[in-house]
């Protein structure tokens, strides 16, 4: 469980959003949607302590970020990574154990086994020795999900996990997300493809330089909220058929 209170973030005096308050429940997959530049990734980075905030705080079930840091897994956007780096699939997944190992300890047999098991869960156990640039986009994303598995985190934050990946990988990742949800973890997914919102998420946060709406998908994913966050045109396209059917 995670509560954001009165959060204000600005880049060089231009506020991204001000006084944002939002709540993420445990045992739910919460999607964050909004147009480009709405502040979705910024919100996530603020929660993770990766950027400076002007004011506000994030409460992790009564604890601070420092106290729960080890228990948060973050699957970032793949475009920010150097794929030529000399690292193979298994070693990449192993980096998920670095946080709990702490300084001066190296991953041993137990950690290697955990990394292998995680790769098995995402169906990539045959790829352990591959250099990461020799994977498809979907396979690479599954490797990062495997790393999140070995982190044994309670809170999982994924930034646009389904961008540029194949259906097969998307399905496998969704299966893992559902398992995590059923295990009572808190899941936050920044998402861009509005078509699958109802299928994938239990709860939804609609953003555009602030929170437009939050709550269960069936209450929040409405023509009105989409119109307020995006545009009337998009809202019409997405909801025209539904309303046509009911009318």
């Amino acid at each position: 469980m995670l509560t954001v209170k009165n959060l204000t973030v600005a880049y060089a005096d231009t506020p991204v959003f001000a006084d944002v308050a939002v709540h993420f429940n445990a045992g739910k997959i919460t999607g964050i949607i909004g147009p480009n530049g709405a502040g979705k990734s910024t919100l996530i980075k603020a929660i993770l302590g990766l950027i400076k905030v002007q004011s506000g705080a994030v409460d992790f079930s009564g604890k601070t970020l420092k106290e729960v840091q080890q228990a948060i897994a973050y699957v970032e956007q793949r475009k920010d990574l150097d794929l030529t780096f000399p690292i193979n699939v298994l070693d990449l997944v192993l980096t998920g154990t670095y946080g709990r190992l702490g300084l001066l300890k190296s991953p041993g047999k137990k950690e290697r086994q955990a990394a292998y098991d995680a790769l098995e869960q995402v169906g990539l156990e045959a790829f352990t020795k591959r250099q990461i640039s020799q994977l498809s986009g979907g396979q690479l994303q599954r490797v990062f999900v495997a790393r999140a598995i070995v982190q044994q985190a309670d809170i999982m934050i994924l930034d646009e996990p389904f961008v540029g990946i194949d259906m097969k990988s998307e399905q496998e990742i969704m299966t893992i997300l559902n398992q995590w949800r059923d295990a009572g973890k808190t899941l936050i997914v920044v998402h861009h493809d509005l078509n699958k919102v109802s299928n994938y998420f239990d709860e939804l946060v609609v953003m555009n330089h602030g929170i437009i709406a939050e709550g269960p998908v069936e209450e929040v994913y409405t023509a009105r909220n989409i119109e307020r966050a995006f545009s009337a045109d998009l809202s019409n396209v997405l909801f025209a058929t539904k309303e046509g059917a009911s009318a």
Binding site: L81, D82, F85, Y98, L104
Partner: protein, 297 residues
């Protein structure tokens, strides 16, 4: 062949040549190790900057009669902090900030060296003078090598993750800034050691060329570190041989050997696949495995 025999004879006879060889090997190892992380972090320019920015520190150390390592480290770290500070607190990008800071430090170094009235030293500092290393130089170099090896072994995990995925390292609570400045500090120590063999101007070559050569051959970081150090050692020994035999300056001789090794790797390494034949073949194979996988799935 004769000159090789002569080189080995001389090695047995002259202490100065033995000292030179030992120093060259140690510098080859340490610059290969640290250089690997420098190129993987995309910090080649930073490596160049720090190596030039230690010059005023060297001058001040001469003036005050303290150990060169101390003076150089102080100025190396000040330069690294200043580069970070200017980039973080202005609209200026890091590469520009590097250019401004290191050229200023370098210029200051020239003036301080001329004030220290050691014109002969300046030449050695700029181009290296490996045949003149003293016993205390060897000791200092050995200590720096010890520090470098310990640093890389003890903090291998942290160096790997901050080089590959700094954001991830931050999210699990690693102090990535501390790792960055620790690396900068070790880099200044390596720079001052490499000063004796190749001189300030060419230090960056010892950091980058062996590491880049190793990078072309392997997909594993451990292998890259060992290969990079080996290329550093081979370049140093071979360069020293040319320097002794043909009376070339040691720095340029060592750096040219390293560059030749890089050129050979560029043409023949499997990862680079410079020959279009092997490249085409590899693409085809990759496409074939890809399709096979898709079918299986």
């Amino acid at each position: 062949m004769n000159s090789l025999i002569e080189f080995f004879n001389a090695l047995g006879k002259y202490d100065f040549l033995q000292s030179a060889l030992v120093t060259a090997i140690m510098v080859g190892i340490m610059s290969g190790l640290i250089g690997s992380f420098i190129i993987l972090r995309g910090m080649s320019l930073m490596g160049d900057a720090i190596s030039h920015a230690v010059l005023p520190g060297v001058a001040v150390a001469y003036m005050l009669g303290v150990n060169v390592m101390i003076g150089a480290s102080v100025f190396g770290i000040i330069a690294a902090l200043l580069i970070g500070f200017v980039a973080a607190n202005s609209k200026i990008k890091t590469d520009t900030s590097i250019g401004v800071v290191f050229s200023a430090f370098y210029a200051l170094g020239f003036i301080l060296i001329s004030m220290a009235e050691s014109a002969t030293n300046l030449h050695h500092i700029l181009f290296g003078n490996i045949l003149a290393v003293s016993d205390s130089d060897i000791m200092t170099t050995a200590i720096v090598l010890g520090i470098v090896v310990m640093f890389v072994v003890l903090f291998y995990k942290e160096l790997l993750i901050t080089s590959f995925d700094n954001t991830f390292a931050k999210t699990y609570g690693l102090n990535t800034t501390a790792i960055h400045y620790a690396l900068m500090l070790v880099l200044t120590l390596v720079t001052v050691s490499a000063l004796q063999t190749v001189g300030i101007i060419l230090v960056v070559a010892m950091l980058i060329t062996p590491a880049a050569t190793a990078f072309l051959w392997t997909d594993r970081l451990e292998t890259m570190l060992v290969m990079s150090a080996s290329v550093g050692v081979i370049s140093s020994i071979t360069g020293l041989y040319f320097s002794f035999t043909l009376n070339w300056a040691s720095g340029p001789a060592i750096v040219l050997v390293a560059a030749v090794l890089f050129a050979i790797s560029f043409i023949f390494s499997p990862k680079q696949a410079f020959f279009s034949f092997s490249k085409r073949q590899r693409t085809k194979e990759a496409a074939a495995t890809q399709t096979a996988e898709e079918i299986v799935r």
